[in-house]
């Protein structure tokens, strides 16, 4: 298991980026495993875009280094990276097909190859009749589709998407999601910068959380959630509330208790050394249990609690 994950496509090592008045990145390190979908999370202005621009070689770090497939990041890697920025657009007066060809050629593709692949993608995204139309004639959703196609057209090894789902309706957002999963199956590594925690839970295998220029958490989503487990359980039952409370041992703590339709709903925190089976056994004797599930914290809760916590620890991050 360890051996498989150790193949890193991207290693960011102690990167610091200083602008005149503020430090955008402060000694940030992260490891992006090959074939993962890596969520880059953080509040607005945390430094995500600065980091992404460094990975794309739009700017260079002041300190630290970035390794791509084990090599120091260089000009020749540009063709292996695909980037969909948050602030994205197209030349409005240019024809869709011509524009896509131009941007593909800038990434180093030959014209013939780009034409072939574009035809396939236009088919998938139902854009076939739009090749010769000007971009300004397209709806915003369609423009977003074109931008996505341009980003993935050269089959990059690493795909960096900054807020890819904004501007899409749910149907098209799903279309993009499916394409991302297909790309991952083909071996593409994807870095996803987003605020939408539901897409993180759905797609990401790994995340890094950046707040106020510093990385405060990273790792596999599964591990993180396990670490943040709080041993809370939600129980729905039918029967007497007093009988339910009596059934709890001293090892359990009743956090909330309220009627829920015909049933009662209770949240119980389990103490050290207790097992779920013991709890269930004592409850079944007193009430009729309808459901029993462990409350696993969502990424959203983890995100909010961690950001709050780190803000309290270092109230002013300005220099």
């Amino acid at each position: 298991m360890r051996l498989l994950i150790s193949a890193m496509i991207l290693s960011v090592k102690n990167v610091t980026k200083q602008y005149a008045t503020h430090r955008a990145l402060d000694n940030v390190s992260l490891e992006v495993p090959q074939g993962s979908i890596y969520g880059l999370l953080g509040p607005n202005g945390a430094g995500k875009t600065s980091l992404i621009r460094i990975i794309n070689q739009i700017t260079a770090p002041d300190e630290g280094e970035v390794l791509f497939m084990g090599e120091k990041l260089r000009q020749k890697h540009i063709g292996m990276i695909g980037y969909l920025p948050e602030e994205r657009g197209l030349y409005k007066k240019m024809e869709v097909g011509e524009q896509a060809l131009y941007l593909a050629q800038l990434k180093g593709m030959s014209r013939q190859e780009a034409v072939l692949r574009l035809r396939e993608w236009f088919e998938i995204f139902e854009l076939k009749g739009w090749w010769r139309k000007k971009v300004e004639e397209l709806s915003k959703g369609m423009q977003q589709k074109v931008q996505f196609i341009i980003t993935v057209l050269h089959e990059p090894k690493l795909l960096i998407l900054d807020e890819p789902f904004t501007g899409f309706d749910p149907i098209n957002a799903n279309l993009i999601k499916d394409e991302l999963l297909k790309l991952r199956e083909k071996g593409t590594t994807i870095i996803l910068s987003t605020h939408r925690m539901e897409s993180v839970e759905e797609l990401c295998s790994h995340i890094a959380l950046i707040n106020r220029s510093q990385k405060i958490l990273d790792g596999a989503v599964r591990d993180i959630r396990r670490n943040f487990k709080s041993a809370k359980y939600e129980i729905e039952y039918k029967g007497n509330a007093i009988a339910f409370a009596n059934g709890l041992w001293t090892g359990y703590e009743l956090l909330s208790h309220e009627p829920h339709g015909e049933l009662m709903k209770a949240v119980v925190k389990m103490g050290e050394g207790s097992s779920t089976n013991d709890l269930l056994a004592s409850l079944i004797a007193n009430v009729e249990v309808h459901s029993f599930r462990e409350l696993i914290p969502g990424m959203n809760d983890i995100f909010i609690s961690l950001v709050k916590e780190s803000n309290e620890q270092q109230p002013v991050a300005e220099l």
Binding site: I58, A60, I78, R88, Y91, L106
Partner: protein, 445 residues
């Protein structure tokens, strides 16, 4: 290398295919050609209109003396002024010219009666005709005849020569002025027109938000240079098309509308001050040679101008000046959020350009001035100023130094502009001050 040529290609093709480019390409020469054609046409229409003047000559001195011309016909009449005024018919005569008996001593008594206010040309040509007659009458009264007078008349024309190491060179102050100024004006126009296009192109990319996608594939410097070079080629294409089209339109039109016989006639009329055509070719006397000398002088000095040098220098300063300013225009485009914010940054670019134009005019008066020398060294003004100076003759070392400074200036401004550009294109929604721009210069990549 390959990517920058892709960028140049796109910048060039999208602009050349635009409707506005095609319209301007066609309209430009038509406007320019009309500058030559309209005066010719106007002259033709004027000729067709003949003014008939009824002359009441109380002095009796002018009978058969007043020369008719193509546009002016005099009809002598013996009736009294009072009668003529009552029966005056504007359909038959344009005006009545009254010449009183004592006209020689009292020219102020001459009167012209007409239904409408006569035009100024008509009045001056009548005045000139009468004046000439009275002068010749007075001369004859003094015992000088017409022939003696023609011999006395002298036209002086100083031929200018400059002394150079190669010997004497024939020059023409008039032509050098025209050639120099034309070169300066063209460069000035080109910098403004196409520099502004560079700026608009950068603003377009920034407001479209496409710029971040592009600079994840190419270096910002490549994008900037690609744009500047692409637009330079658009400008060169347009100028080339203008020159070709202007010449072809001018040739076609002059063949269609202007009859060569008529041209010759007009030339003859101009050469003979008395309205009697002088047989120029047959005459070997002093009269016609002085008339011809001005034309031959111009032709000689055309040969004296060093055209290969002028053309080479024009191309160099044309491109050098554009590249220098083009980079600055690109930096402005990158620093602002929209075209409406450009004003405060445009001023420092506009001032040296306008200044160079003012200096250029003073150089026409005195090509060797100290001011002219220094402004033709400063890269911001040298493209216009040096262009104006070159036809007057500039020492090779001055030219070389000026060119060197221009290249150096171009390298430095482009380097600075690239720094502002690189930071500016990714900066949205921020009102940028001069201080802020200064900081950007010191950002590391």
């Amino acid at each position: 290398m390959n990517t920058i040529s892709l960028i140049i290609k796109r910048e060039y093709l999208t602009r050349v295919r635009k409707k506005s480019f095609i319209i301007m390409t066609i309209l430009g020469p038509i406007l320019m050609a009309s500058l030559f054609i309209v005066p010719v046409l106007m002259a033709r229409y004027d000729e067709n209109e003949v003014s008939k003047i009824q002359v009441i000559d109380e002095s009796g001195l002018f009978k058969g003396k007043l020369q008719n011309s193509e546009s002016l016909v005099f009809e002598m009449d013996t009736m009294s002024l009072a009668v003529a005024k009552t029966i005056f018919n504007p359909e038959r005569h344009t005006a009545i010219l009254y010449i009183p008996g004592n006209v020689i001593n009292n020219t102020g008594a001459l009167m012209l009666f007409s239904a409408k206010q006569p035009n100024i040309n008509l009045v001056t040509s009548i005045e000139r005709t009468i004046q000439k007659e009275i002068e010749s009458m007075k001369l004859q009264a003094q015992g000088i005849n017409q022939e003696t007078l023609e011999q006395i008349k002298t036209k002086v024309n100083v031929n200018t020569r400059t002394l150079t190491e190669q010997g004497e060179e024939e020059t023409s102050a008039g032509l050098t002025t025209i050639v120099g100024m034309l070169g300066g004006v063209l460069i000035y126009m080109f910098i403004f027109l196409y520099g502004a296009q560079v700026m608009r192109g950068v603003i377009e990319e920034k407001t479209n938000r496409i710029v971040e996608v592009i600079i994840s594939s190419v270096k910002p410097f490549q994008l900037m240079m690609g744009k500047i070079i692409g637009i330079a080629l658009v400008g060169l294409t347009q100028f080339l098309l203008w020159i070709v089209l202007t010449f072809s339109i001018a040739t076609v039109v002059s063949n269609l509308f202007i009859d060569p016989n008529q041209m010759r006639e007009q030339m003859m009329n101009r050469q003979s001050p008395l309205g009697t055509p002088l047989p120029v070719e047959a005459e070997d006397g002093s009269v016609s040679s002085s008339e011809n000398s001005e034309i031959s002088e111009i032709f000689n000095s055309v040969n004296s101008i060093n055209f290969p040098l002028l053309l080479g220098a024009f191309l160099f300063y044309f491109l050098g000046g554009y590249l220098l300013y083009g980079a600055l225009f690109a930096a402005i485009g990158a620093a602002v959020d929209g075209e409406s914010d450009t004003q405060q940054f445009m001023l420092p670019i506009t001032i040296p350009l306008i200044l160079s134009f003012i200096v250029a005019q003073s150089i026409l008066q005195n090509p060797e001035s100290k001011v002219g020398f220094w402004f033709s060294m400063i890269p911001f003004t040298s493209p216009v100023v040096m262009m104006v100076r070159i036809p007057f003759g500039v020492a090779p070392w001055e030219l070389a130094l000026s060119m060197f400074f221009l290249v150096a200036g171009f390298v430095v401004t482009t380097w600075l502009a690239a720094k502002i550009y690189r930071t500016g294109i990714l900066m949205y929604g921020k009102k940028v001050s001069w201080k802020e721009l200064g900081k950007w210069l010191f950002y590391r990549e």
